[in-house]
């Protein structure tokens, strides 16, 4: 303890509580858990009421596209975790590269989602469409939940992407660095939450057919 670098001692004098900052981020994530949790409850009840129709409606989704997006998000979670390890090891450029990759994966996810939704719209499947109104009630509910839940999730992907771009700027400017990177950790936590939500959305909408 006696051989602290002067900078480290100065940092110790300045009040900092990184664990507290991370705990605050976790508390925020719990509000997100309740937000999506409410929708998962609605899904569960309607699935229970309309099991057969939910099965049929799920066949209209492309499992391949869903699987590709799952792989993209899981990989983006890896790159953001690697970026934290990189900055911790003092590798600024490597950290910036990993955050940039994460943003690119987010864009790829959104592009897939865009084409997937466009495809549905072309086939007349969008909220309130004449085609959808004529389907059985359970299928209408399924697609309403599909658009609301994946839409809210996509909104989170967009927000996460903006947060990661801010983190990238901070890394490049040096305000996120080897001795101070709790903001990157918080941004990473948000990004992982987006991944976790998708881990449940993927089987519930794409695989239960």
């Amino acid at each position: 303890m006696s051989n602290h670098a002067p900078a480290a001692v100065a940092a110790a004098d300045h009040h900092r509580d990184d664990a507290g900052a991370r705990l605050g981020m976790w508390l925020f994530l719990f509000t997100e858990l309740i937000l999506f949790g409410g929708l998962f409850i609605v899904y569960a009840v309607y699935r229970f009421q309309h099991t057969e129709e939910f099965h049929l409606a799920a066949r209209e989704l492309d499992t391949f596209v869903g699987t590709v997006n799952t792989i993209i998000l899981l990989t983006s979670s890896l790159t953001v975790a690697l970026s934290i390890n990189a900055i911790r090891g003092g590798k600024k450029i490597l950290s910036a590269v990993f955050v940039s990759l994460t943003v690119l994966f987010a864009l790829a996810f959104l592009a897939n989602k865009f084409f997937e939704w466009s495809h549905k719209f072309e086939h007349g499947i969008y909220p309130g469409s004449p085609e959808l109104i004529n389907k059985p009630g359970g299928e209408i509910l399924y697609f309403a939940l599909y658009f609301v839940m994946t839409g809210l999730h996509a909104l989170h992907v967009i927000i996460g992407m903006v947060i990661l771009l801010v983190m990238l700027t901070m890394i490049l400017r040096g305000s996120i660095n080897q001795s101070s990177y709790v903001r990157l950790e918080a941004g990473g936590l948000y990004w992982h939450l987006v991944d976790v939500i998708w881990i449940f959305l993927f089987p519930l909408f794409y695989l239960l057919h």
Partner: protein
């Protein structure tokens, strides 16, 4: 809690090594493959249980390793358990209400 060279209050979670992160990522991809493969088999009503179990395992991997939960102080785990239990109570009460309506 922290290593002796870290001044008080700074980030001190040790986290996983790069190799471990990549290993967990491989595990997540394998579980994704498994859940997709199982969806092609007619498991009847077990399909929901198997899909949700695999999703839960994937979530535990992400939360513990990628989100560093297992390297954090104990209070983090207590918070996560309380939040998850709260959601579980919401779900249980909703279904009780629904079942006995």
């Amino acid at each position: 809690m922290g290593s002796p060279v870290q001044p008080h209050g700074q980030s001190e979670a040790h986290g996983a090594s790069n190799a471990k992160l990549v290993l967990i990522w491989c595990g997540l991809l394998a579980l994704t493959g498994l859940t997709v493969a199982l969806s092609g088999i007619d498991l009847g009503r077990w399909i929901v249980l198997s899909a949700l179990s695999i999703a839960t395992v994937k979530t535990l991997l992400v939360v513990n390793v990628f989100m560093h939960l297992k390297y954090e102080e104990r209070v983090f785990r207590i918070f996560v358990i309380v939040a998850t239990l709260t959601l579980a109570i919401f779900i249980a009460l909703t279904f009780f209400d629904y079942a006995f309506h």
